[in-house]
């Protein structure tokens, strides 16, 4: 009997449940897709490095999944509470008929069970299809060939999805039972009779609050963009964030009253068609939903920022590589390890002996034929004077910097390179070369934040002392350049001095930069294999030689980019779904209350077209309001993201913002349309 009743209820209220179902299915599908990535990529033809990164990524994604399941869990509980509220009258009837609360709980239990089973089944089905598209995306991200297409169904992802969602549904069931056991019959029956009280806010207060909110917001925006340098420590960022949250709340609070006031004063507009009705509908609701509007707006803001910056990381990383890794390989080793150091780190004799050999000698001990594999070789020696630290090169500016940037390591010794060796590298890289007088030095850097600090010191003509001789800056600014190959702009500063300024006593490291002696990709890959295989040579334990190759930098940076992108996508989509679903559910539950109002308007003779337009406007404004504010926030938020991500170089975000816009339009717009059509259905049928 109860079973039959539950089934009938689901069938009957299928339209009401549309949003709920849609959200559940979407949630299940996305959960499956992101957890199935590992299985999807098993057949991809990728290198070992990339494979490692994919494994790391799937591990991180499964960690994120726990967080995602928390969000989805809250969303489902929220949604089911809405649905129960809508059915208060029905439960009231059951109770008056003498049905026990336990039986009603059983009905709800069976319903949740059915909805759960159906949504899981459909969701995994859709997820399985979507994840095939996902494998294409993964292949594209990691630049692997998808030579043959095979349909893969991930059993582990499926089981994981089933497990996580079963737990969520179980919690929903418990919540439902608690809800039912707590409610009183009189409230259930009288639920629909509550009349809405329209509280009008004091317009002057609204204006004052609005202005205060705008000022707070502008200040927060200013802080994260123009004055971004002042956010030197992580805790300072909280001030603009908190200000942003509060002002968002206040704007929604005051705006509802303000807009009503303004439009009302334009009598010709207010008393045209159903305008007065639409406006009152919206403002009466905004009054009661300021908090949720704020949360939705902030969630949308986070979504937009996360999506657009994570999508751009991959692009910018690939773009940087050509510039920042212009040669195939850079071999580095620490030179001339002193006895004290050896003792401190416990190096053995062979290791110390090796450190006194140039790189080429170590390579021949590794049976690596330099002349056979490498060309365009340039050797660079790095010198270090323990006395010449960052603190010293900043000179008089140090005291000020220490206050604004307390986290910088000031006691680190600076790296020094002679001008002739640097010019060799610069020539090979196609960078600018320099000449120096006997008492001049230059700083080469490409890490923007550090450049700013150093430029100030250079402007003050800060002298440095090396082996008893004093040098002055040739330029009042850092010069652009780098030596080590990498995927990002991370050269915080290398001091270039005349050749005579240093001697072997200061030698710290040696670097050998070269290209592979090969004419095509296959040739380069073969040499790369030889390099990788050096790790198996017996002599490798006796040397501290390290190799960083263009190919490995490329793979790991592409991997890092892809990882950030996937996690960003995952979280972004879940956030987007959550906020859209909350809005949609709220709007739908309002529509039920609105049935009578629309019925009445129809009796007054309002045309269907006009009614639909009113409904559309009402829902549209409700959806667009938080979105507009979120977009305004995002303009500044993305600006800030760019600042944080500047080490990743590329600041071109048009493509990723376009992608974000597409996601927004499809998901948010989809929810809007479903809400509109469901609401239309609700006000038409009954």
């Amino acid at each position: 009997m109860l079973f039959k009743l539950s089934l009938k209820n689901i069938r009957k209220s299928f339209k009401d449940y549309a949003i709920y179902f849609f959200t559940l299915i979407l949630g299940v599908a996305i959960f499956y897709v992101f957890n199935a990535i590992e299985s999807q990529t098993v057949l991809l033809n990728v290198t070992a490095t990339t494979r490692d990164i994919i494994t790391l990524m799937t591990n991180m994604l499964s960690g994120v999944s726990v967080f995602v399941s928390l969000i989805l869990g809250f969303l489902i509980i929220y949604a089911s509470r809405f649905l129960i509220k809508r059915r208060n009258k029905e439960f009231g009837i059951y109770l008056t008929l003498g049905m026990s609360k336990r039986k009603i709980s059983t009905i709800l239990f069976i319903e949740t069970l059915f909805i759960g089973i159906i949504s899981l089944f459909v969701g995994i089905f859709i997820g399985a299809i979507l994840s095939q598209v996902m494998s294409l995306l993964v292949a594209n991200m990691f630049e692997a060939d998808m030579t043959k297409f095979t349909f893969i169904f991930s059993k582990s992802a499926c089981i994981k999805t089933l497990l996580y969602f079963s737990i969520m549904y179980l919690i929903v069931m418990i919540f439902n039972v608690i809800n039912i056991s707590r409610c009183k019959l009189i409230d259930l029956i009288n639920h629909s009779k509550k009349t809405e009280k329209v509280k009008l806010k004091n317009p002057i207060l609204c204006i004052i609050i609005f202005i205060i909110a705008i000022i707070m917001l502008v200040y927060a925006y200013y802080k994260v963009t123009i004055d971004v340098e002042s956010l030197s420590t992580p805790d300072k960022i909280f001030i603009p964030i908190i200000l942003g949250c509060i002002s968002t709340f206040l704007i929604f609070w005051s705006l509802s009253g303000l807009i009503l006031k303004i439009v009302k004063s334009i009598k010709g507009l207010y008393y045209r068609g159903l305008n007065s009705f639409i406006l009152k509908q919206i403002s009466s609701k905004i009054n009661t939903t300021v908090v949720s509007m704020t949360i939705i707006c902030l969630m949308l803001f986070v979504t937009i920022c996360v999506l657009s910056s994570s999508l751009s990381i991959k692009n910018s990383m690939s773009a940087n590589l050509e510039e920042l890794a212009p040669v195939d390989i850079a071999l580095t080793k620490t030179r001339n390890i002193t006895a004290e150091k050896a003792q401190e780190y416990g190096y053995n004799t062979a290791y110390i002996e090796d450190s006194f050999l140039p790189i080429t000698d170590s390579l021949s001990k590794l049976d690596f034929d330099v002349s056979k594999y490498l060309k365009d070789m340039v050797t660079v020696h790095y010198y270090v004077d323990e006395a010449l630290t960052v603190e010293k090169t900043l000179g008089s500016y140090y005291e000020e910097t220490k206050k604004t940037l307390p986290f910088l390591t000031y006691n680190m010794p600076e790296e020094i390179v002679t001008v002739s060796e640097y010019n060799e590298v610069a020539k090979l890289y196609g960078n600018e070369t320099f000449t120096l007088d006997e008492d001049e030095y230059i700083i080469i850097a490409d890490y923007d934040s550090m450049i700013e600090v150093r430029n100030e010191a250079l402007k003050r003509n800060t002298p440095i002392t090396l082996l008893g001789k004093t040098y002055y800056p040739k330029y009042s600014e850092c010069q652009n350049g780098f030596i080590a190959i990498s995927s990002n702009h991370i050269n915080a500063g290398i001091i270039i001095v005349p050749d005579s300024a240093v001697d072997d006593s200061l030698l710290e490291r040696e670097s050998l930069i070269a290209n592979y002696k090969a004419s095509d990709d296959t040739g380069r890959k073969n040499i790369e294999e030889v390099i990788i295989n050096l790790a198996n040579h017996p002599y490798i334990s006796s040397t501290n030689l390290e190799a960083s190759t263009k190919l490995s930098i490329y793979e790991s940076s592409v991997g890092l980019g892809a990882m950030v992108t996937f996690i960003g996508l995952y979280l972004g989509i879940i956030f987007l779904i959550s906020s859209a679903a909350i809005l949609a559910l709220k709007e739908l539950s309002e529509s039920t209350d609105n049935i009578d109002r629309y019925k009445m308007l129809r009796k007054l003779g309002v045309e269907e077209r006009m009614l639909n337009k009113a409904l559309f406007m009402q829902i549209f404004i409700f959806f667009i309001f938080p979105l507009i504010l979120a977009i305004i926030h995002s303009i500044f938020g993305i600006e800030f993201c760019k600042f944080i991500l500047e080490t990743f170089g590329d600041k071109e975000m048009t493509k990723s913002i376009t992608m974000t816009a597409i996601f927004l339009v499809v998901i948010y717009g989809g929810y809007f349309l479903i809400t509109y059509y469901s609401s239309k259905n609700i006000i038409r049928n009954r």
Partner: protein, 256 residues
């Protein structure tokens, strides 16, 4: 100008299917002239609300025709129905049916603004009608801040302001106390006599019906009797109505 504002021609309304057929309205014909105030009386289930719903095009008749100012409204479809209600009818309901989110003024204005009347004229007309129905003091209030009688007069103002061909009132005093009822009905008389408004009112209350110029009694979907006030006083007319009600018998008695 048609003398018959409303002409009802042999209408029938059936509910249910072939196996169990209910005749809510069984062959009813009558007409209402311009400036008449007609009350339709009947017990619960006699078909009087179905009749009103049919006239207001909220419900469709099974057979027969209803003419409003010569136009057969049973032939109207879709938006024509909405336009008809908007332009020709004024509604007053038992439970007022005011929009709770709008003030009295805005509620009244709505029935004009959906006809695209400009604001200046809306304002003038509301001021005039508010004067006539003594609701000037509540115009800025929301429905929940008003008494039942005030609400119903606001609803009456909303119904009359569009100058409809006919005002349909469904148990207008049903949710009012006797004092408010009396005041409302006096306003109905005022609208009827001074402004020449045509009113068709459904009620089961003899006192309410006694304000009309003609009362039609309905029983089991058929017209049972019809009495005209003529030159009688309201009190005398009330006694006449009571006589018919007694004759009707049944549960209408307990409506007294």
């Amino acid at each position: 100008m048609y003398m018959n504002i409303l002409k009802i021609d042999k209408i029938e309304k059936y509910y249910g299917n072939k196996s169990s057929l209910t005749k809510a309205i069984d062959n009813i014909s009558f007409s209402v002239d311009k400036g008449e105030f007609v009350a339709i009386m009947g017990a619960s289930g006699s078909g009087k609300t179905t009749l009103l719903n049919s006239i207001s095009t909220i419900d469709k008749v099974t057979s027969g025709h209803i003419y409003v100012e010569g136009e057969d409204i049973t032939k109207l479809k879709g938006n024509e129905l909405n336009a008809f209600r908007r332009d020709k009818l004024g509604f007053i309901f038992q439970d007022f049916n005011l929009l709770d989110t709008l003030t009295a003024y805005e509620n009244i204005a709505l029935s004009l603004s959906i006809k695209n009347v400009n604001y200046k004229e809306i304002d003038e007309r509301i001021k005039k009608v508010a004067e006539e129905l003594s609701i000037k003091h509540v115009l800025k209030k929301y429905p929940y801040q008003m008494s039942g009688g005030e609400r119903q007069r606001v609803a009456a103002a909303r119904a009359i302001i569009t100058n409809p061909s006919i005002i349909l009132a469904d148990e207008p005093t049903g949710a009012l106390d006797s004092k408010s009822s009396k005041m409302l009905l006096e306003k109905f008389n005022y609208l009827n006599q001074e402004l020449d408004a045509t009113i068709l009112m459904v009620t089961h209350d003899a006192f309410t019906a006694s304000y009309a110029s003609r009362v039609i009694f309905i029983k089991d979907g058929k017209i049972f009797n019809e009495i005209i006030r003529g030159n009688d006083t309201r009190k005398a007319f009330f006694d006449k109505i009571i006589d018919v009600v007694t004759l009707l018998g049944g549960d209408l008695n307990d409506a007294l």
